[in-house]
């Protein structure tokens, strides 16, 4: 592997062993065990709660079926096994954001086991095993007067998030570098968004990642002392924190020290991981089966139905697009980065736009406009159908490239009918040979020097003349025709 990281060079005597625990909030309508909305961010503090998610005395949880199905969907997308029997357990600990004093989670019989995720890291194919995907509930949130609970003078608890369905995806310790860990996370996020179970927002914490990091001498089969790294809320933070942690652990070992099994938090401002909790201080969660929820038997029929409803997954789709439309691997990957993009691309092609033109425009102008306006193509004024119309006008020669570019910018922001605008504003391309010949002759007459240069072998002089003709024709002249007319007249 060509991976070069801060912590470990290719010549390092140490190998990093990394596993990720990813928590993903599910895009269900309601919370895990009650009918409160799972979209909790817009409600005023503690305004999205009920007796169930507040953990009031005597209330009971009722399983969210949609959350179960989304977890199964995820597990199937990760090629996991779905056992016929699964159950929920209580994870007991005191914390003010945990109203019941326990989290309903899954312990020894999770909803799925033994899957994998394939990806490419530094141009090499890699596979990371998935230990399990299970379902649990999210906690509330705390707002501390101060940075950490221990030093806070006061803390406010908001239980709007309490009980939101949360899926935990635990990887095997198969990752060997920060690059690999980041790429795994990028691909996992893409997959979760693709299958519509998570919105992929690391900054806001709807997708969270913890890393278990250890190092060992190459050739050693036993695992080193594991450190859990938390509080990384961007891909960059994941990469930097793991790199830092690997380097820190190697340094400790190289200095003859011993590592502590502990939990460390990534502190962005210090660019370092900081010890939060040692093994001795670790919680004893006193897991036991949740008596308020009967075990779940996921019938084969249900599992097969969910499997049959899985969309084509990103890797497979990229491969198919490359094959079917003659795209490069790079372009195909870019066009399938999100399901929405890939769907849009295929819609454009289905609407009669050529594969090449659709790809170029989608990856070029459309991507730039999406960035500029923070609006995806689908949500933009032009929409996929509008873009298809526009690109067909371009391809059938009704308008030229520059006109299409201008129109797209306008339609993207304000919407409108491309064909109508072209008619109303007379934006149709001038392909009239006689009319253009008049303009070409005028331009040749007015630019004697440039003509001289061209005849003298300076090919780029032609470009200046083309520009002059286009300008005189109001930007609507058909570029290829202008080109050939100029060559014709200049060589005459």
């Amino acid at each position: 592997m060509t991976t070069q990281t801060v912590g470990l060079g290719v010549d390092s005597a140490y190998e990093a062993v990394i596993g990720l625990e990813v928590h993903a909030q599910l895009l269900t309508r309601s919370k895990m065990f009650c009918s409160c909305s799972a979209a909790y961010t817009n409600a005023p503090a503690n305004g999205n709660c009920c007796p169930v998610c507040l953990g009031m005395p005597g209330v009971l949880p009722v399983m969210n079926r949609q959350a179960v199905e989304m977890t199964v969907r995820t597990a199937l997308a990760l090629d996991c096994e779905i056992p016929a029997f699964t159950k929920f357990d209580r994870k007991n600990y005191f914390y003010p954001d945990l109203p019941k004093g326990y989290q309903i989670s899954q312990y020894d019989l999770p909803m799925s086991l033994r899957g994998h995720l394939d990806f490419t890291v530094n141009e090499e194919r890699a596979r990371c095993g998935i230990t399990r995907v299970h379902l649990e509930e999210d906690t509330g949130t705390m707002h501390h007067a101060g940075d950490v609970l221990q030093e806070a003078t006061s803390s406010l608890v908001d239980l709007n998030r309490s009980g939101v369905p949360l899926m935990e995806i635990v990887s095997e310790p198969d990752l060997r570098s920060a690059d690999a860990a980041r790429e795994y996370l990028v691909r996992l996020r893409q997959l979760l968004m693709y299958i519509g179970v998570n919105d992929g927002n690391l900054e806001q914490g709807s997708l969270r990642c913890d890393a278990n990091v250890s190092v060992r001498k190459f050739g050693v089969s036993e695992l080193g002392t594991k450190v859990e790294v938390k509080n990384m809320n961007s891909f960059r933070a994941v990469h930097r924190a793991i790199d830092f942690e690997i380097a820190r652990q190697v340094a400790v070992l190289e200095q003859g020290g011993a590592l502590l099994q502990e939990t460390r938090g990534w502190v962005e401002t210090r660019a370092a991981t900081v010890s939060q909790r040692s093994k001795e201080m670790a919680h004893d969660y006193r897991y036991f089966p949740e008596p308020d929820l009967p075990p779940l038997q996921l019938g084969r029929e249900l599992v097969e139905r969910i499997r049959s409803e899985l969309p084509e997954l990103p890797e497979a789709r990229a491969a198919r697009l490359a094959e079917q439309y003659g795209l490069s691997t790079y372009d195909a990957a870019l066009l399938t980065a999100s399901r929405e993009d890939a769907d849009a691309y295929e819609e454009l092609v289905d609407a009669g736009v050529s594969a090449k033109v659709a790809a170029n425009w989608q990856m070029g102008d459309v991507a730039a406009l999406a960035n500029q306006h923070h609006r995806s193509l689908v949500d933009s004024g032009v929409g996929v159908v509008g873009l298809a119309t526009l690109l067909r006008l371009l391809e059938d020669g009704t308008i030229n490239g520059p006109t299409a570019k201008e129109l797209l910018a306008e339609l993207y922001e304000h919407g409108g009918d491309a064909a109508l605008l072209v008619r109303e504003r007379g934006l149709g391309q001038v392909s009239d040979r006689a009319a253009l010949t008049v303009i070409v002759d005028e331009v040749i007459a007015a630019n004697a020097q440039a003509c001289e240069d061209f005849r003298g072998g300076k090919a780029q002089a032609l470009g200046r003349l083309v520009g002059q003709v286009m300008k005189a024709a109001g930007g609507r002249a058909e570029p290829a025709l202008v080109n050939s007319l100029l060559r014709e007249r200049l060589s005459a």
């Binding site: 007796p51 507040l54 953990g55 009031m56 005395p57 005597g58 209330v59 009971l60 949880p61 009722v62 399983m63 209580r90 007991n92 005191f94 003010p96 109203p99 019941k100 004093g101 326990y102 803390s155 608890v157 004893d284 006193r286 897991y287 036991f288 008596p291 308020d292 929820l293 009967p294």
Partner: protein, 488 residues
């Protein structure tokens, strides 16, 4: 009619005959309550305005459709204070919930309100339903109407005393290890614990979730059947609630026991039984035999493991269920400078010693390194106990045995928790196996009531009533009233 001590069936008939009104029944209940409760302490709160509203509602229902109005319409009832009633104090007998008024009503209670029943108040109980004497209530012990110096049993002692003293014909309690059947036995009334999952636990303040079940107290088996039907049935808000339709215990009342095979579990008749209890139960068995039932001694060899199994599982669940009482969102809070201290003091001052003991026991049993030795093993024994019942029920239709090994004891005389736990030795296995069980009066020992327990297979709740009613019809013990009621 004389209302003190009248049955719900008698009241329902009087209401329809125009001989009384819900208002009159409520007034009688209140009169009895104010006359006796100073000595009994059965009630923690009176729900006067709710009772008044329900009276009006019941009167309307009876006027609109006397046949359609259910059997509990207009009948005064009492609710154990672990059952949530929106807007009214619900303390679970604990200081920590002293000020708690839930914003929701338990499903079972809502069904009673919808049926036109008239709740007069919330009854005293052992704190969080943990106890066998109601001495663990944070709000004072409850007296047994047969002898106010004695306990009424527990944990639903207040609900038992309210019926035994003739304040209300029907009350509701909860039974986790015998908390309905044992107080019913000790106060000379009928108490029924349904199959686990038959009555929704939504709005029942949990003690041990896999064992808790709501059930009625009444003076007769018929009233108990009617009271059970009123709260039974599937509830989508309780995932452990059984979806199967409820079998009809009321029509089963008339079936008799001719040809019924009754098992007498040897282990339930062994050492530890008070002689008077053994004699009364033996006599009751003879009565049932006389009614045509075949009697067979059977064995449930793991019975003696029931107590220790229960005292792992129930405290384990309770240690988790009671974690939410931190004084942050509801209930009593003891303010201290730091969060940790606030949590510790709130719980330290809010919980009584028995609750503390069980929280600690349960926390220990679930701890890393002990889980396998305690909780996991207890679950295995629980399965074993359930299987033993299953195999016995292949040979017999129901089991008959004592409810409690002893009659009501004098308050304060049992100080050792283990000795106290022995009171539930004969009721706990039924909870562990999730079976229906009833206790009904079968005579006196030392002038105090003795309870006969009838146990049936899971979801065969109607059969419990069938056997109990046959016995009740053949005897007069159910008509025996506590002296305090007779002296009215």
């Amino acid at each position: 009619m004389s209302c003190a001590g009248a049955t719900a069936a008698e009241m329902a008939a009087s209401l329809r005959a125009g001989q009384t009104t819900p208002r009159q029944l409520l007034d009688h209940a209140r009169a009895q309550l104010s006359r006796l409760d100073g000595r009994l302490n059965a009630f923690l709160a009176h729900t006067d305005d709710l009772a008044d509203r329900q009276c009006e509602r019941a009167a309307g229902m009876l006027a609109d459709d006397p046949a359609g109005a259910g059997p509990l319409c207009g009948i005064p009832i009492a609710l154990k204070d672990v059952l949530c009633l929106a807007g009214y104090p619900t303390t679970a007998g604990s200081r920590i919930l002293e000020d708690f008024r839930p914003p929701y009503t338990a499903t079972a209670v809502q069904r009673l309100l919808d049926a036109g029943a008239v709740p007069v108040g919330k009854t005293n109980c052992d704190e969080f339903a943990m106890g066998s004497s109601t001495e663990n209530s944070a709000f004072g012990a409850v007296g047994n109407p047969w002898d106010v110096e004695r306990v009424p049993g527990g944990s639903s002692g207040g609900s038992a005393a309210a019926v035994a003293s003739g304040m209300v014909p029907i009350s509701y309690g909860t039974d986790t290890g015998g908390s309905i059947r044992q107080p019913a036995a000790l106060t000379g009334v009928v108490g029924f614990k349904p199959t686990y999952g038959r009555v929704s636990r939504y709005g029942l303040i949990a003690f041990a979730s896999s064992l808790d079940q709501i059930g009625p107290f009444a003076q007769t088996v018929e009233d108990a059947a009617v009271a059970y039907v009123a709260v039974a049935g599937h509830d989508p808000r309780d995932s452990t609630s059984v979806p199967d339709p409820v079998d009809d215990p009321v029509s089963a009342l008339q079936l008799g026991v001719d040809g019924i095979r009754l098992g007498i579990p040897r282990e339930y008749m062994g050492a530890g039984l008070e002689p008077g209890v053994r004699d009364r139960v033996s006599e009751a068995i003879a009565v049932l035999e006389g009614l045509g039932a075949s009697i067979e001694e059977v064995s449930l060899p793991s019975t003696d493991l029931g107590l220790s199994t229960y005292y792992i599982i129930a405290p384990a669940e309770c240690s988790s269920n009671l974690a939410r009482y931190d004084g942050v969102r509801f209930g009593r809070r003891v303010e201290r400078p730091s969060l940790t201290e606030t949590l510790l003091r709130t719980r330290g001052e809010g919980f009584g010693p028995e609750v503390e003991r069980r929280v600690m026991l349960g926390t220990y049993a679930l701890s890393s390194g002990y889980y396998d030795a305690y909780y996991r093993r207890a679950q295995k024994v629980r399965t074993l106990i359930a299987r033993e019942f299953d195999s016995v029920f292949e040979r017999v239709d129901a089991l008959v045995c004592p409810t409690s090994p002893k009659v009501a004891f004098t308050m304060g005389t049992i100080q050792d928790p283990l000795e106290m736990y022995l009171n539930d030795a004969l009721t706990i296995p039924v909870n562990l196996a999730g079976l229906p069980g009833i206790s009904l009066p079968c005579g006196l020992s030392r002038e105090l009531p003795v309870g006969l327990q009838v146990i049936a297979p899971r979801l065969r709740d109607a059969r419990v009533f069938q056997v109990a009613r046959a016995y009740e019809q053949a005897t007069q013990w159910h008509a025996l009233r506590a002296p305090m009621v007779a002296s009215a």
